[in-house]
Amino acid sequence: MAITTTAEPTRRDFLYIATGSVAAVGAAACAWPLIDQMNPSSAVLALASIEVDLTPIQVGQSVTVKFRGHPLFVRRRTAKEIAAAAAVPLSDLPDQLARNENLPDDAPATAANRDIKPEWLIVSGVCTHLGCTPTAFEGDYGGWLCHCHGSMYDTAGRIRKGPAPQNLAIPAYSFLSDSRIKVG
């Protein structure tokens, strides 16, 4: 029997495409649980916020606490460190955004936008380059130096030199009293 070609799509063409589409959707539906199982589980997502007692922290000291599996820096800055951060013109900063969850996303990275009370700097201890924990009081700017790949942060936790693209992130936090904060 000769094969006849018709200009119009036949019923068979329609069945072909419809069957293929159903199979593709089915395959994707089967694949999704296999992919999504790798995302954080409900147990991981049920994250508590933490409270930090500020009383034992002396002026000039930086303390590391664990928050959502990551280090969090709580630093009681000296007057000199606060002044050094405030003296930096915005144009000197590689990352112009405050990266502060307590402020709108487009807030500029001024020193004032990096803290709630100038004496207390609360920043994530995760280098924005590749996730190492930077070391306090090192580097050219007196803030932090990341030993992994040489990123340097200033005393407001802002990136100043090196491969890191962003300022150290500031999580949502609030002062419960003068000597206690709640993070997250």
């Binding site: 954080p40 590749l130 924990t133 992994c148 790949h149």
Partner: protein, 421 residues
């Protein structure tokens, strides 16, 4: 070269089997009579040596998995238990951990040998690309294996490498972070990460074994390249694989095993990092974080770029480049024996890779021999890419190769050898 089969079943059983599953025919044709160029030298033994390495890693790995516990709270202690209490656990673990180093040592020799003798050129492009795929699988497998002991270096290696994906945030906001979280199964490297790395570390060696099967298949279609880089022109140019190359490969595998044993028994921690004897601590990064020696050149390239995304692209590019070599080098002459310019620049490239490795082993701001290492790493990175993307295509146009010998047989046996055909 994979011509008609010469297998003749000798017994009633083998005749019966041959007409149902010709597995003995396959073994006979690929291992026994396979015609192999008669001039293969020492450097061609590394294919067999690598097969040996893969076997050692799979066997020791399977038994280690009988004692290892992939749990963030127990992993470190279970490795200590293997080292101290499990019968011969120290031996099995040292063979496995040093086995990774020996595996990479062998694969680098194998790759440089392929580069030197032009083994990637037509008709062996697919063979080469399969090799690149095997190498990438090896890197991924070794990285995940390094994470399993859950020491400080394990933890921070996992953190830094998975964070490479966050550079995608600079292309599409949040894309990289979403991928990193998906890889971690958490908001940081943790228990979920360790579990999945263990699962994949167990799986991937078998994937490697499968691709090795394809690699050997692709080798057996055109047959081996050889140090002269000219085709086999007739039976006088080749020898049956057995006994000539089975014995030669076995001999060099034995020498390699001696070197392996020296490392395992006399310097088992030589390639290791002492920081990995400290249990993982998510709050403190070790001051000097370096990858294993076999990844140092790539680490140096990543670090030499001060911009995150570009640094990651350079790292990925340095690996992806390898797959393009068959089309970057269009000189018709395969072997560097007959390419005077390429020969010199090849050795510069080898030195360049060693220099990159050295730079990667030093701290970020190190100054050695009066030179800041980051500047040296930049120059070396530039040469790495220039070698493939500039030198290879340009030499293909301007280099005058030396005359090629008439045949392998003449070159090996002298002019008295029978002429080709």
């Amino acid at each position: 070269m994979s011509g008609p089969s010469t297998y003749v079943p000798q017994t009633g059983f083998t005749r019966w089997l041959d007409s149902r599953l010709p597995i003995l025919r396959l073994a006979h044709d690929t291992v026994w009579t396979f015609p192999t160029p008669r001039n293969l030298n020492f450097w061609y033994a590394f294919g067999a040596i690598l097969t040996f390495c893969l076997g050692v890693q799979i066997v020791t790995g399977i038994v280690l998995a009988m004692h290892y516990v992939p749990n963030a709270n127990l992993a470190f202690d279970s490795v200590e238990n293997i080292m101290r209490d499990v019968n011969y656990g120290w031996l099995l673990r040292y063979v496995h951990s040093n086995g990774a180093s020996m595996f990479f040592l062998a694969v680098y020799v194998h790759m440089f040998r392929g580069l030197y003798y032009g083994s990637y050129k037509a008709p062996r492009e697919v063979l080469w690309i399969l090799g690149v795929i095997i190498y990438l699988l090896m890197v991924v497998t070794a990285f995940m294996g390094y994470v399993l002991p859950w020491g400080q270096m394990s933890f921070w290696a996992a953190t830094v490498i998975t964070n490479l994906f966050t550079s995608l945030d600079q292309v599409i906001p949040h894309l990289g972070s979403v991928i990193a979280t998906w890889l971690w199964g958490d908001f940081a490297v943790g228990d979920a990460t360790l579990n999945r790395f263990f699962s994949l570390h167990y799986l991937l060696p078998f994937v490697i074994a499968a691709v090795v099967g394809l690699h050997i298949w692709a080798l057996h279609v055109p047959g081996n390249n050889n140090p002269l880089g000219i085709d086999v022109k007739g039976p006088q140019d080749s020898l049956p694989f057995h006994p000539y190359y089975t014995v030669k490969d076995a001999f060099y595998t034995g020498l390699f095993a001696i070197l392996f044993a020296v490392l395992v028994f006399y310097a088992p921690e030589f390639v290791g990092n002492p920081d990995n004897n400290i249990p993982a601590n998510p709050l403190v990064t070790p001051t000097d974080i370096v990858p294993e020696w076999y990844l140092l050149p790539f680490y140096a390239m990543l670090r030499s770029v001060p911009q995150k995304l570009i640094g990651v692209l350079v790292l990925v590019g340095s690996l992806v480049t390898l797959a393009f070599i068959p089309w970057l080098d269009w000189s018709p002459v395969r072997s560097n024996r007959f390419r005077p310019l390429m020969k010199q620049l090849f050795w510069v490239f080898v030195v360049d890779c060693v220099v990159l490795g050295y730079c990667g082993s030093q701290s970020v701001d190190a100054v050695r021999f009066g030179m800041p290492m980051v500047v040296v790493a930049r120059v070396a990175t530039a040469y790495y890419f220039a070698f493939f993307w500039l030198i290879m295509p340009i030499l293909g146009l301007i280099e005058t190769p030396k005359p090629l010998p008439d045949s392998i047989a003449k070159s090996v046996l002298g002019p008295s050898a029978a002429p080709a055909e």
